[in-house]
């Protein structure tokens, strides 16, 4: 943190203590959350540079700047870093760590020491991932066998790194589950918990249940390379499709690890800036659990073209449509919350509304791919790339930005420059849509993903998309420059600048190490906006 002159220690709250030891050995969930945030944002930038390099290459139909192999390495690193080092940990381990105990009215998570261990295991994990760059991966982030068992890249090293990152993810999820069960403030019943907590609870369950499976899968892959076990080797009776089943048993549920926390943030921001009670609290809360549960039963839709039985295909297709239902329940409830609200458009709200719009596009293009007939046509085209960027970037990253802007005053004790924040938002939204909407069009017209070269008839789409990508990058740079400026010289933030009702706002900004002077007594849900004090629904 940048020191601010003329400031007494007490005003800096939990940030008062200085020196690297006060960070490296801290058991304060707020500091650990901040360390996660900074680490994951660093990887967001690195992953983003790889994305820009890919877009640069795609400016021309022929491979111009890098070899095909280099292109393969770049899209693998872009995918693997964005997924494992940014989007999975950013909201849960970063913002979640900071705000779960605060929203619950607790002094810390249930196991603070385990929390710190989880961060350092994460660091060990990404150091191993970086070590694997001596012979960088070129398999795509999905590590499909048999190629991943044979390529000269450092697959075993990278697998080990991701195993460690997965372990950190499991421990964090476990910590949150226990915290939510055992450390709620007096009077905070399950139905008085903020919806961010419900989202994080569902997320943690997925992390705990799904991650061990991918851990073993990467272990088997590494052992296939090191000891020659034959699980996935068809020459000796193994089955590469089993690898895909194992991989997607984790990697599909994990997209809900990415999206559910963002949905939680949106559920917090929308009522605050509409000055209206959230509509359908229980529907939103339980739809998170429903998504987590059904999300475990749909992994096969990544494998419709891999040669599963027609019955399995049909079942997975049906279940995929089914998971769209609780997702739509959330969207309708947010829109109903907005209806007749006193809406103001501060930057957190802008990002939350953007989330809804982009996520509807990303979400509705999902069933195109879940339907068997259209999936055979669209599989491995840019339509898929566009679809998951609309959900992951248009959804999760917008939710993450909403959370960053919403909670920035609480985390740092500083206000952001609202004008610059809105300029950044406009650049991000325009840049994002120019980049990725064109990919839908290219995909429907048949452009396959993961090639450095393409047919000249896709040239126009790719030039537009690359232009959009650089616009998006500028927007993101402005956004983070604004955060940096806010940190250095933003106006002092009051305890509760948004007049919000959840517990994290009922204490100083930044909070003290203990979070609350006295543990609050909860008598009501946190969404009683816009009406005189009285019993809420």
């Amino acid at each position: 943190m940048e020191p601010v002159s003329g400031e007494s220690g007490s005003e800096r709250g939990y940030l008062a203590e200085r020196g690297w030891r006060s960070w490296a050995y801290t058991m304060d969930h707020k500091r650990i959350g901040l360390m996660y945030l900074l680490t994951t944002i660093a990887f967001f930038f690195i992953g983003g540079v790889f994305a820009l390099l890919l877009r640069l290459e795609l400016l021309s139909p022929q491979a111009k700047y890098f070899s095909n192999h280099t292109y393969n390495v770049f899209f693998t690193l872009h995918g693997a870093m964005m997924i494992f080092l940014f989007i999975i940990p950013a909201i849960p381990s970063g913002l979640g760590n900071f705000f779960i105990p605060m929203q619950l009215g607790a002094r810390d998570v249930a196991f603070p020491r385990l929390n710190l261990a989880s961060y350092w295991i994460f660091v060990a994990g990404f150091l191993v991932v970086i070590a694997s760059l001596v012979s960088p991966m070129d398999t795509g982030w999905t590590f499909y066998t048999p190629y991943s068992a044979k390529t000269g890249a450092a697959v075993a090293t990278l697998s080990f790194g991701i195993f460690l990152i997965g372990m950190s993810s499991i421990l964090t999820g476990l910590n949150f589950i226990v915290t939510i069960h055992k450390l709620r403030a007096p009077g905070m019943t399950w139905h008085r918990m903020p919806l961010f907590i419900w989202g994080m609870y569902a997320t943690s369950i997925i992390q705990v249940v799904a991650t061990p499976v991918v851990g073993v899968t990467f272990l088997l892959l590494a052992m296939e390379r090191l000891l020659g076990v034959v699980f996935f080797d068809p020459a000796k009776g193994g089955d590469p499709v089993l690898f895909q089943h194992f991989f997607w048993f984790y990697s599909h549920p994990v997209v809900y690890v990415m999206i559910l926390p963002a949905m939680g943030i949106v559920s917090e921001v929308i009522p605050v800036f509409s000055r209206k009670p959230i509509f359908g609290y229980k529907a939103i809360a339980y739809s998170s659990l429903a998504i987590a549960f059904i999300g475990f039963l749909v992994w096969g839709h990544h494998m419709f073209t891999s040669g599963m039985s027609p019955l399995a295909n049909a079942l997975f297709s049906f279940l995929t449509f089914f998971v769209a239902v609780p997702t739509a329940v959330k969207v309708f409830n947010w829109i109903a919350t907005l209806y007749k609200g006193s809406i103001t458009f501060e930057s957190p709200m802008l990002y939350a509304l953007t989330f809804i719009g982009l996520f509807i596009i990303g979400g509705l293009t999902g069933p195109f791919l879940g339907a068997l007939a259209t999936d055979v046509q669209l599989h491995d085209t840019y339509f898929v790339v566009a679809h998951f960027h609309y959900t992951m970037m248009g959804g999760t990253v917008m939710g993450f930005f909403a959370g960053l802007h919403y909670w920035f005053p609480k985390m740092t004790g500083r206000m952001l420059n609202e004008k610059v924040a809105r300029i950044a938002w406009a650049l991000v939204v325009v840049g994002f849509n120019v980049t990725f909407f064109t990919m839908f069009i290219a995909g429907v017209r048949g452009m396959p993903r993961r090639y450095a070269e393409y047919l000249p008839r896709f040239h126009a789409e790719n030039v537009i998309s690359t232009a959009g990508a650089f616009l998006l990058a500028i927007g993101i740079l402005v956004l983070f420059w604004n955060l940096w400026q806010g940190l250095r010289k933003g106006a002092r933030a009051p305890g509760n600048p948004w007049r919000a009702l959840s517990l994290e706002w009922q204490t100083a900004s930044p909070p003290d190490t203990e979070n609350f002077h006295e543990i609050p007594e909860v008598t009501d849900w946190p969404y009683g906006y816009g009406k005189p004090k009285g019993p809420a629904a």
Binding site: A106, R107, D108, A110, F111, I170, L174, N175, I177, V178, H181, K182, L183, R184, A185, P186, G187, M188, T189, V208, V209, A210, T211, P212, V213, G215, V216, T217, L219, L220, M223, L227, G228, V229, V230, F231, K236, G237, G238, D239, L242, F246, F249, I519
Partner: protein, 196 residues
């Protein structure tokens, strides 16, 4: 139910939290082994004759001996938990020490088995049955070793006088973990040694 004021300092809440944490952790362990059990199911259904023929090459006598060793170690763990609940830290050390020794005996027998198999030219890359056998027993062996480390730590804690009838959390939690490791073996034995 919500936590009383200052949940962290309340020993009852801390115990409940630890218990929920360990059970959740065991759930992740079930999933970890679950993937291997799934692979086992898939391949056994695909190659029934291979599994029948290959499993006869395993040493059933040593496998059974190891089962007896591990079941006995679960008994000593239970006796250890019972001891500390009655406040007898010295007795706990004895029982948990015995458990660690039994765990060590298990690993020694496993070492003998693996050596024998290597001598007969049976390796992880021999075929899918032995891939499964070495991965499952290997992963289980690692868990036994980690369990021994945890139990040793509990013995040390007891030696420092940190455990009593009022504070049994580390004893009970490490005991739960040891039972789980035991239970995995109870499934491994029939699946690998007793196909018939």
């Amino acid at each position: 139910m919500s936590a009383p004021q200052d949940g962290h300092n309340d020993p009852a809440v801390a115990f409940e939290a630890a218990k929920l944490g360990v059970w959740t952790f065991l759930a992740t362990e079930v999933l970890l082994f679950g993937a291997l059990f799934t692979a086992y199911t898939v391949y056994r259904a695909k190659f029934p004759e291979l599994f029948q023929a290959e499993h006869l090459k395993l040493n059933r006598i040593l496998g059974t001996l190891n089962t007896v060793v591990l079941l006995t170690s679960s008994l000593t763990v239970v006796l250890g938990v019972d001891a500390i609940r009655r406040g007898k830290a010295r007795l706990l050390q004895l029982y948990y020490g015995a458990t660690v020794l039994l765990g060590g005996a298990f690993l020694c027998v496993k070492y003998i088995e693996w050596t024998e198999e290597f001598h007969h030219g049976l390796f992880p890359d021999t075929n899918i049955f032995f891939s499964l056998y070495f991965m499952m027993t290997g992963l289980h062996g690692i868990h036994v070793f980690l369990g021994m480390c945890v139990l040793t730590y509990v013995v040390v804690l007891a030696g420092r006088g940190r455990l009593s009838a009022d504070y049994t959390t580390p004893v009970e939690m490490s005991g739960l973990y040891w039972h789980f490791v035991d239970l995995v073996w109870i499934y491994l034995l029939p699946l690998l040694y007793l196909i018939g």
